[in-house]
């Protein structure tokens, strides 16, 4: 295996890994809770539409909500039971707001419905990528690293760009989290099968499993699993150990570390001949195509101030409270983080359910998270700029965000911020920089939506005025025409009596009138068509929004 040069990205920080609490705990299943709350929002893009009724009995793995549109993924029942409600419940979100959910009451039998693994039917011949994409969408496979972007979308290749490197992200750079570590240690064979499947499907020239150097056991397990498969060598799949610098697992930084390619804003990895999947996602893809099991559970690391830290296989829809109770969270904990301590969020409501992106629960206590000083003035020490892996100037972005001057914050590339938290971590003034940036970004997003709506309203208002104008002219024209016909009739009556030289004049007038009429008619028609188009155009984006 050839050793390739690694690139080290700008900035980044060294963090205490703190994975020791749960890294030696094997994956254990969480006992099935009695009630599961499944938010429809389990992926980026549009919400899937429920296809079950309240009171309906469902089997484990049965589809509950079907994907709507391309960037969307289906949702399945994590266990057998009865649909109790379809309505708004609090979801795991920093706002603590409610969102549409499907509630299942488990019957305790955990009976699987019919499973149709894709590979069983199409084992001999090469699979058509589109079939795989449709299948994965229907199996609800999304990015399990936290971004929950539908995985089937990422199987599309950029036209004309061959896939140089398929990256499997096992970096897991945030402190505390060990779910991918354990998954790689315990289920390496499945992951490797998944990688081979993806590499062959995407015709990747090489595949790289990136693992941070603080997880030697996972790297060893993956290497052993790769060595056991002949296809692994044929497809040039290898394990690369990368230095543990936060945020090494962030997409852009990981691509740069492994390939030296920098992804500019707005350019997706396939454009650079790279595609990246999380290890848990690869595992989920393999479970779907080989066993016909949709995504109905995920590995969640429970750690922090709990009596029994560990890695649990949690059915989707189990509440955070269920998991915390099982892990024996200590009562003096002050809150629970969902996700890592650098990019996760503090959960406002423990009844919120575990979703496809929730990789870690951390019970907070001052022992693990020492109290932070209140914000003091920024002295532009530039520690943040030196830590920023994106090469931004957080102190400038902060200065303008704080003053709510968002345009100037954008002038300093606010939108390029990946919210990794390095700047806030190093800030000597304890400024919650990331929150300022999120605040500013959200304000900008709202302003953009407002602007879009205003533009649409203006278009429609102007069209309405145009229509009113047209109707008015049409009416006057009709009147004029009637009058003209009247006069023409009169003229015709007179024509017989009129002298010969006047005849020419009358004919000319009639010709002109006819021409005017024709033109006017055409214009009205064109206007109508335009109007129809405009209405269609105005309606089209809303279709996307409401869906």
């Amino acid at each position: 295996m050839s050793k390739k040069k690694l690139f080290s990205f700008l900035g980044g920080i060294k963090l205490a890994h703190r994975k020791e609490y749960s890294s030696e705990k094997a994956i254990a299943p969480l006992p099935m809770p009695k009630k599961l709350i499944l938010p429809l929002r389990q992926s980026a893009g549009s919400l899937p539409a429920p296809i079950v009724q309240v009171g309906e009995k469902v089997n484990k793995g049965q589809c509950l909500a079907a994907a709507e549109g391309w960037i969307s993924a289906s949702l399945h029942a994590p266990t057998s039971g009865t649909i109790r409600d379809i309505g708004d419940y609090p979801i795991a979100h920093p706002s603590g707001l409610v969102a549409p959910c499907i509630v299942i009451e488990a019957d305790g039998e955990d009976a699987w419905g019919e499973r149709q693994p894709l590979l069983e039917h199409a084992d001999s011949e090469r699979l058509d990528p589109e079939t795989v994409q449709r299948y994965l969408q229907s199996m609800g496979v999304v990015g399990m690293g936290g971004a929950v972007f539908p995985s089937h979308v990422k199987l599309s290749k950029a036209p004309g760009v061959p896939l140089e490197t398929l990256i499997v992200n096992g970096a897991e750079c945030e402190p505390f989290i060990t779910c991918d570590d354990r998954l790689m240690r315990e289920r390496a064979a499945e992951i490797v099968s998944g990688i081979i499947f993806l590499a062959e499907l995407l015709e990747a020239k090489e595949s790289v499993v990136a693992i941070e150097d603080n997880k030697p056991e996972a790297a060893a397990a993956m290497r052993a699993a790769l060595a056991a498969r002949l296809e692994a060598t044929a497809n040039h799949i290898r394990v690369v150990v990368i230095p543990a610098v936060y945020p090494a697992g962030s997409l852009k930084q990981l691509i740069y570390t492994l390939t030296g390619k920098r992804a500019p804003a707005g350019v997706l990895p396939p454009q650079l001949g790279v595609q990246c999947f999380n290890t848990a996602t690869v595992y989920a893809i393999w479970q779907a195509v080989a066993r016909g099991e949709p995504v109905i559970s995920r590995i969640v690391t429970v750690t922090g101030n709990v009596g029994r830290p560990g890695n649990l296989e949690v059915p989707l829809g189990a509440s955070v409270a269920d998991v915390l109770q099982y892990a024996e969270a200590r009562p003096e904990s002050d809150g629970c983080l969902v996700g890592g301590p650098m990019m996760g969020f503090l959960l406002p409501d423990y009844d919120a359910p575990i979703g496809k992106g929730a990789n870690c629960l951390i019970a907070r206590s001052p022992q693990f998270f020492p109290h932070k000083a209140p914000e003091s003035p920024c002295i532009r020490c530039t520690n943040c700029a030196q830590a920023c892996p994106q090469g931004l100037l957080p102190y400038e972005m902060y200065w303008w965000s704080r003053a709510r001057d968002f345009a100037k914050a954008e002038r300093h590339n606010l939108q390029e911020c990946i919210e990794c938290g390095c700047c806030s971590y190093v800030c000597p003034s304890s400024i919650p920089l990331v929150q300022y940036f999120r605040f500013a970004k959200d304000a900008l997003r709202t302003a953009a939506t407002k602007k879009e709506m205003a533009d649409q309203a203006r278009e429609r208002f102007e069209f309405r005025q145009f229509r009113a104008e047209r109707e008015k002219t049409e009416r006057t024209q009709k009147l004029a025409q009637a009058a003209k016909q009247q006069s023409a009739k009169l003229a015709a009556e007179n024509a017989n009596a009129a002298p010969a030289e006047d005849l020419d004049e009358t004919r000319k007038q009639a010709l002109i009138a006819a021409a005017i009429e024709r033109v006017a008619g055409e214009r009205a028609k064109v206007g109508c068509d335009e109007g129809a188009n405009a209405t269609e155009a105005a309606l089209a984006p809303n279709h996307g929004n409401s869906a």
């Binding site: 919650p432 970004k441 997003r445 407002k450 649409q456 309203a457 309405r464």
Partner: protein
């Protein structure tokens, strides 16, 4: 005598410069007013007429002519006034007295049971966001509604009400950080422990 000469010299100078300006006025004539478009782009396009002009464009034209203040648009809010003052270099003013209160974004909803299908609201809607025909029930196309409230007054049976848009995780915004408070001071619900479960 000298005064006369001086006056005539100045007059001559003025004449020469005046004719130069006159020529320039014709040569560099400006058609239309592109600023109106810029102002109109800032206005929220609710077409609500709360500024006392019939629609956003007429208000924009009035601002460009210097006839209207820039603080007459309640749907545009404080932000809008700031943007206008930036664009035009005019002094910022808080929203005009009668339109002080900024309203939450809301949309019109027709109580479909009461609707008699009179089409009056359809005629009032400036952005064609109401669907329906004579003697048929009408309905508001919610994504198109600007919340201008112009349809409420014409309704003979008062079946139209404004409903604020709900806050969802999708349109939720991160709040401005609390500066003087340590984030650790935030209060938390008690941890769900096994003991709590038994209760």
């Amino acid at each position: 005598m000298e005064i006369l000469v001086a006056i005539s010299v100045m007059a001559l100078g003025a004449l020469v410069l005046g004719s130069a300006i006159g020529y320039a006025a014709i040569r560099f004539k400006v058609e239309g007013d592109p600023v109106v478009e810029k102002i109109n782009a800032i206005l929220p396009q609710t077409q609500c007429g709360q500024c006392s002009y019939p629609g956003c464009k007429p208000y924009a034209e009035a601002i460009a002519r210097g006839e209207a203040e820039i603080n007459l648009c309640p749907p545009g809010g404080d932000e809008g006034v700031h943007q206008l003052s930036e664009l035009l270099g005019r002094e910022y003013k808080p929203l005009a007295e009668e339109s002080q209160t900024e309203k939450k974004a809301s949309v019109a909803l027709i109580d479909e049971a009461d609707c008699i299908g009179c089409t009056l609201c359809i005629q009032a809607c400036p952005v064609d966001a109401i669907l329906g025909a004579a003697k048929q029930m009408h309905t508001v196309i919610i994504p198109l509604c600007t919340g201008c409230e112009l349809c409420i007054a014409p309704c003979p049976v008062d079946c139209i009400a404004m409903k604020p848009l709900p806050e969802t995780p999708e349109n939720w915004e991160w709040p401005y950080p609390q500066i003087d408070k340590s984030p650790d001071a935030a209060t938390h619900a008690p941890m769900p422990t096994a003991a709590a479960d038994i209760q």
